[in-house]
Structure formats: C-alpha cells, structure tokens
Symmetry: C2
C-alpha cells in the first residue's frame, strides 16, 4: 500500500514536471469593475453594494485593542436584539451552565415535533469578536425560522482565554445537554469561526467517545486557517466582509491560536478525520472568501460517505446568508437548514 | 396576492433607493496574479495551470467557420476514444434511432441492479461544437464509472439545424426509450449546453405530458444565456475554458438561437417552471464562469422542493470535472453522480 502511494506520488510529480516544467504559471487576472448582480433580491443587492469593511486591513495589535473592537461591535448589535426577537417571536434568557455563559432562545410557539429537540449555537467572529448579544442574531434566526429551542454559547475569547478555551466551553455545554437529551435530538450550528468550532466539536466528541449529534450546520466554516484554498485569492477584494486573507480575521485567529499549530485539525478541521460525522449542511456564497474552505470541507465529508449537503448563494460574500431576517435569501437559507435538521434529528 | 406582490416590490425598491440613492456602486477589484492552488491533485493542478483557451475571443463568423472549428475539435478527440474506451471497459456502437444519430456505449460488465437502467447523454459545446466522437468522453466516463448503458445523442447542430433542432433530436431519443423502458429507470445528463438541454428536455416533457425520468445530472448548465449571473464577471479571465461571457461560447449560442428569444426557458431554463422536475445533481467549480448559472439553477429547484444536490469542486473552471478519467477529482465527480443515479433510479 505504502509502495503504491509512493509510486502514485512520483508519477503525479512527473506529470506536473513533464507538462509544465518546474513551476506552474499563475493566472494573471486584470482589474475589474463588477456591478451589483441583478440576480438577487433588492435587499441582498443593497448588502452586496456595501463597500469593503472599514479597517479590514488595520486589525488591533494589542489585547486591549481587540477587546475594544469586540465591545464596540457588541454595543452596535445589542440595541437591535429586542426588535429582532419580536419579529422572530422568541424570548431570550442569559444564564450560566457549569460555569459557561449561555443564552437560551426559546420560540413562543414550538411545534410538537420540536418539543424534545435543541440546537446548540457556536457563534462566529474569528474566535475573538461577537461576545454577548453580538452573537445572537444567527441564534435568534435559527430559533425563529426552525421553531426550535437554541442555546447560544457565549464562549470565552481572548484576552480572557486562548485556544482551546472556545472549544472547551462549547463542549461543556454539549456534554451537559446530552445528559438529559438524546444526542440524536441535538443539532450544532454556527458560521465562520462558529462553523469551524462546530466541526472541531465533532472531532473532540470522537476523541472523548461521546455520541454524535443528529445533524450539524457549519456555515462558511473557517475549516482551513493555513491560508490554503483558491478563493482566498480569487475572491479577494470582492468579498466585502472578510476582504482578504491578510485582513483582520487572520490576525484575530492568530491571537486566539496563541502559538498553537494552525494545521492542527482543532483549528483547521478540513485536515481532520471526519469519519463518523453526523449529516451536515454547509452554506456559502459565490463571492465568499471561504467558498473554497466550504466546498473543500463538503468534499472531505463526502469522500468518507457522510450525508453532506451544500448550498451556495448567488453573489453573497462571507456569512451574508444570515445578515438580516427580512431578506428573502436569508429566509431561504434558514429554511433549508431547518428542513435538513427536521429530516435528520430524532424526535 | 397581486396587491401584496406590488407592495413588496415597492418597498424593496424604496429600500434600495433610500440606502444607496439611484444606483448601487460596483466593486472595484484590482488586478491579481493567482497561483495554481495546492489544494487539488497534481493532475488537476496541471489542468488549472493551462493558459486561457486559444482564440477564446476570436470566434468564427461564418457557418463554414463554425463547422471547420467543430470538425477540427472532433478530429483531435477521435483518436483518443479507443484508449479511453479500453480504460473504461466499454464498447461503442454508432447508429441512428428514428432518424437521429446516436452512439450506444455499453459497459462490458453491467451489475444486476443496472441491467434495466439507461442514461441518455446530451453533450456540451455551446450548441455548435463537439459533433460525433468529440461528444463521447463524458458519455464514456459515465458508462464506465456508473457501470450503466449510455446513449449519447449526436444531435444536429448549426449550420445543419438551428434552435430547437438539438432539443428535438434529444426528445426523439427520450420518447423512443420510454416506450420500452420505465421512465423512472432512465437518467438524463450532460454538461454546459448539454446541461441546459437536459433541463430543457424536462420542460418539454412537461409540455408534452411525458413521464419524467428517474434522475438528471446537468453539469455546469448554461441555464441563463442572457448574460445574467455574477460569476460571468467575477470569474472572467480566471476560468481558462470559457474565459468570458463575451467569448466564443456566447457567439456559438447566438448562432444556434438564430434570432430566437434568449430569455425563453427553452434556451435559459433558469426562467422555466421547474415544478415536478426529477431529483437533480448539479456540478460546478469555484473558478467556473457558470458557477452562478449552476447555483441559481440549484436554488430554483430547491425553491419548489425538488430533491437537488450541488457539488462544487475546488479551483476548477468550466466543465473540468470531466476533463480526464485518470484525474482523482473526475473519478470523484462521476462517483457522486453514479451514487445519486443509483439512489433515485428505478430498477
């Protein structure tokens, strides 16, 4: 087997050499002016038309600077939460669970089929941003659109705690829940760093011989933080959220990793052994800097036979599929995830 | 209902206006030099490294010119067919069926489950290219990887026949087959123009009250030939096969359309009523000029509840997923389509 692999590697190397000499030529793509596509809703057009994120290439350089940025984002989001909760018809309670800060989001009306189901939410924000209420929009949308109780983990972030603090906190919540609920009745979801954390939780659950949840929904996961993936470059300066792999998100991840090997599957789950993962639905957009991270993760799951569904939305940049519950494409994305959960979760 | 739709349209228009004035700003993307990704096989790296297609922006301008181009491509492909057939362990027989030229590709070993199954292949080539043997590689790979009999339709193309000649020929073959075989045992597949023809066949079958096949696999379909779709621009000059929406493929489609309205769902099936379509698997790549055409079609199918699966391959340009049967990603793509057919076709 090993000999065969070596032969394959040698012949592949020869193929590349013989066809193209020592190096493969890059593609030279000229500058472009790209209009907002007419093939999405007017509301999504307005999102796509927004300029590149302010200060995308000027990340904080001190722990205090990161904390200030996180706090200022949270201060912007917090006032929006009451109206959002009212539109989605849910109520929100903060508490702690075995020392971990959580928010419980409960729909005012839960259909019978979802009475014994729960979705655990791990928020995004490059492992450093979106503390407290800033984490909640995605969780509220899931509770509202899927009509299911959601627990959102307000995990510790730098400078309070570094790798693997976020993962530890998420696992604490998962372990507490599977004591009272069949794991098959639980979904885990989150986007960006939350998508990576969702996948990392599955790897950790395997290590600890815990049962798998019934389904997971990693949205545009940061499945590879080693700067590998074609759309890091092809969608650079096109994605108006992350903008570039050399921007704030990479800096934040380094801050969280705190010197830990970025290739460790607990930071780059695309390199993990994903055999035995539960049914998975992945979401991305054609302008998403992490489109490659998403489709590579989809392929990795399919290569081992996991039930894995991919949805890619026209023209959207990173994580815009949960930008605003009033946008048709957002309802559509959550509708798909809700249907996937309904299909695969136990009752 | 109508009033509600008008109100929605008005409020959407107001949203766009109030937020961004009269026009939405385009995204200005600087020139880039994009290396061949390391995240695909060495064989696929060699394909991705190929320069832009020769003469992509110099299409023929006369019927004779198109015929010469088509013939020269066919002359290049034809000598490769015997070795391809041997590798895939299939035999090929040309014939005619009710006046339509076809090739029947039969695996030398057909498993019991596939004895009464058939896949009908409608080839790509912008409705003008890939006559005769040039159409066969995708059909041979399907027969070989799915272990299923395939009939490839060598439909008439301009200047022999214009719209809807290709569709008429494909329907003639489909109608002949459903006389002797349960439609549910039949798959229909093809890529690019062949992907569009696959979808157009379903629309035509609905018009004629014919039964739907068991499953279809439109690969990177030309589902919108009106130049709408974000990746027509975002992936321009990056996709080394189609290169640009202003290239040879657009010119060829105009030649086939022969003045017919390009927005007709029989040329742009993304605008068709796709209710009742059979289970569908769509395939594209992150550099594909038709990635938007593919994901928009996927969304259109999902919006009406059709079972529809999407696979998107890292770094690939248009239709490179069937470039060569010896490439790991090609085996993977056909493995997925074969599994999808096996899951959904009758026996």
């Amino acid at each position: 087997m090993r000999t065969r692999l070596i032969c394959l590697a040698i012949s592949a190397a020869l193929l590349a050499l013989s066809a193209y000499g020592q190096t493969l030529a890059p593609r030279e793509v000229p500058a472009k002016s790209i209009p907002v596509p007419s093939t999405v809703s007017p509301q999504m057009q307005a999102i796509i038309a927004q300029p590149l994120r302010t200060n995308w290439d000027k990340p904080p350089t001190t722990p205090e600077g990161w904390k200030q940025l996180a706090d200022s984002i949270a201060a912007t989001v917090a006032p929006q939460i009451p109206a959002m909760s009212e539109r989605m018809d849910v109520k929100i309670e903060p508490s702690t669970l075995n020392g971990v800060r959580i928010y419980t989001i409960t729909p005012n009306n839960i259909p019978a089929a979802n009475k014994n189901r729960l979705a655990i939410h791990v928020h995004g924000g490059c492992y450093v941003l979106n503390p407290r209420e800033a984490a909640l929009p995605e969780a509220i949308f899931m509770a509202g659109f899927a009509h299911m109780k959601v627990i959102s983990v307000d995990y510790r972030m730098p400078p309070e705690a570094y790798y693997p603090g976020a993962l530890d906190d998420a696992m604490t919540v998962y372990k507490a829940q599977i004591k009272s609920l069949n794991a098959k009745n639980i979904a885990v979801f989150g986007s960006s760093a939350g998508g990576a954390l969702t996948l990392e939780m599955m790897l950790r659950a395997k290590q600890e011989n815990l049962p798998m949840p019934g389904a997971i929904a990693p949205g545009t996961p940061m499945s590879d933080v080693t700067k590998k993936g074609d759309t890091f470059l092809t969608n650079a300066m096109l994605d108006n959220v992350l903008v570039s792999q050399d921007g704030f998100c990479d800096a934040a991840t380094m801050f969280y990793a705190n010197g830990h090997d970025l290739k460790d599957p607990m930071l780059s789950p695309v390199y993990g052994d994903v055999r035995g993962f539960p049914p998975t639905i992945l979401t991305s957009g054609t302008r998403d800097l992490l489109l490659s991270n998403t489709v590579r993760m989809h392929r990795a799951l399919r290569q081992v036979g996991t039930v894995a569904s991919l949805q890619v939305f026209e023209g959207q940049s990173h994580a815009q599929f949960y930008r605003d519950d009033r946008i048709p494409e957002v309802k559509e994305a959550f509708g798909e995830i809700a249907a996937f959960f309904d299909q695969h979760l136990g009752k």
